[in-house]
Symmetry: C2
Subunit: 332 residues, 2 copies
């Protein structure tokens, strides 16, 4: 059985690179000390994020393909959240020496397929492979604003519409199904488990939001409540979410919630659904604010409004202040 240690870094990288798609943006691709990338509009967007084994994923719950996919999806969502088109990524992988080459190849397949499916024209143009005790995937993603101004977190104004593109709570629901050990439940609701494994962020909605005049935007990676509080803090406003407008997101999760609520002392199905939608981040939806008279792009659904800052209450659910609960990548 071939492992990355048995064939070495160079050959392992060669096998990986041979499975990647060729993007539209590179002038010099893999094989030199660095890649050279087009930036014809005179600037580029850059963001980095890390996935760590047993913190951000478990190898018994996610295939290598899933991890490749998720690495791309979660990073290009950050690019989209600036109003940019994802262009190129570099991927650094740390893995144990005993990692099989077939695992690495499946990982590369996931990288490729996520690029092709979520952001055509975008590709991985470079990487690094190193050995370590646990798998760590560090991705840096780049994008092109194509001459548009970036959409920051700080531009929301009282009176703006709050809207979301993509799904909320499904990945968190999928994760809880996996943690529950409820195999029947996980199988019955494998769509939500698969959102956890291979999120489908609405990448094109980022540019659409920018073109529609979005005043603020971010990628919901740590949960609606926490990420809404970030817009509130950066823009010095309060974000008021309408609980009625979350019901659609909660309703689709009801069956899975009921499957999990069977156990004594567990939450009710309603509590599950609400918690997932408010604090689940890994769907990588886009949360944006728009002027009241804007025409929302089709991908966006209105879920609230921006109001004058309410002291001590950056986020309201209806009239109720809610804590900025969510996922902290250090404290969990």
């Amino acid at each position: 059985m071939e492992t990355i240690a048995s064939i070495g870094e160079s050959e392992s990288l060669r096998r990986t690179i041979s499975r990647l798609n060729k993007g539209e943006h590179e002038l010099v691709g893999p094989g030199d000390d660095a890649a050279v990338i087009k930036a014809e509009s005179g600037s580029f967007v850059v963001t980095t994020d890390t996935l760590v084994q047993d913190h951000d994923f478990r190898l018994d719950w996610s295939l290598a393909y899933d991890l490749g996919w998720k690495s791309i999806a979660s990073n290009i969502a950050d690019v989209a959240a600036m109003g940019a088109v994802p262009t190129v990524l570099v991927v650094a992988l740390v893995a144990p020496k005993t990692t099989e080459i077939s695992w690495l190849e499946s990982f590369a397949d996931g990288l490729r397929e996520a690029c092709l499916a979520l952001a055509p024209g975008c590709a991985v143009v470079g990487g690094d492979l190193a050995s370590g005790e646990q798998v760590v995937i560090a991705v840096t993603a780049h994008g092109d604003l194509q001459g548009r101004q970036p959409v920051l977190r700080s531009g929301a104004k009282p009176g703006d519409i709050l809207a979301v593109a993509g799904t909320l709570g499904r990945a968190a629901c999928g994760l809880e199904l996996l943690f529950s050990g409820n195999t029947d439940g996980a199988n019955a609701y494998d769509d939500w488990v698969n959102v956890q494994r291979r999120p489908q962020p609405p990448i094109a909605a980022g540019v659409a939001a920018s073109e529609a005049g979005a005043t603020a935007m971010l990628d919901v990676s740590d949960g609606l409540a926490k990420d809404a509080s970030r817009i509130a803090a950066a823009s010095a406003v309060t974000v008021q979410i309408d609980p009625l407008q979350l019901q659609g997101f909660e309703a689709v999760l009801e069956g899975a919630a009921q499957a999990l609520a069977i156990k004594p002392a567990a939450k009710t199905a309603d509590e599950y659904g609400r918690a997932w939608v408010l604090t689940g981040g890994e769907d990588h939806a886009l949360l944006a604010t728009f002027p009241a008279d804007a025409t929302l792009p089709r991908a966006f659904k209105r879920i609230g409004v921006v109001i004058d800052a309410v002291p001590g209450a950056p986020v309201l659910l209806g009239q109720q202040p809610i804590g900025a609960g969510g996922w902290d990548s250090v404290t969990g």
Copy 2:
């Protein structure tokens, strides 16, 4: 005592970012989903590399400051090797939850000071912090070719001069002093130990080489022999190193080599010096080829010539074929 877990990711990042220098190239810095970087010449260079605890460094041998410094130095050397000016970096850090904030702050100080010392105007513009069992530092570095063509590995031609900027073998010597447990030796030759900890790659020499017409170039990160073989392979030539022209690199290491050769069964001092210069990579020198009639930039010293490909001998030391010995980041 404050740790990254006790204050959380956001506050840890805020403390780190506050210690960084502000670069000349960012339009939008840390704090949004992504940074926005100037690329007025219409392209950018990008490269990524990883440092893994107990594989690439040991926490008892390198301070956090040293690791910050080395993360910058090793990555911008790859940018320089393309003939580009380093502009911005993003740094993803994985560290145990128990990591003290003071460690993180020293790491940030090392990032800042390396940027200021090695590539003024260059800065870290974004990052990520995650928890894991061992420290992993994944850095992505960017550069600007300022309208020049990139210097690739593939352009060396028979008749070209082979030349190196920077030092060879000192970091490997420093590492061997540390491994030896010979504290007196490590103290007496702490200059070489410090090259291992805080390499000083000749960043400006990359642009100078490009302007002088360099036909091929790379960063010596895995050892002169191995990296010369990469130019040979990419350019379909043989690289002939003149052993006499390595003597200067070896001579400065002679004292340290003698200190290590005291132990029975160890190599002779000469063998140490030669091995360090041929296979030690972490000085991050720049190895380049130039047309025979080029005026070498001052930072470069001639060490050989490029000749027609000799089958089975990509690198010759004098008339002697040498194996592509060096460091493989997976197999060690």
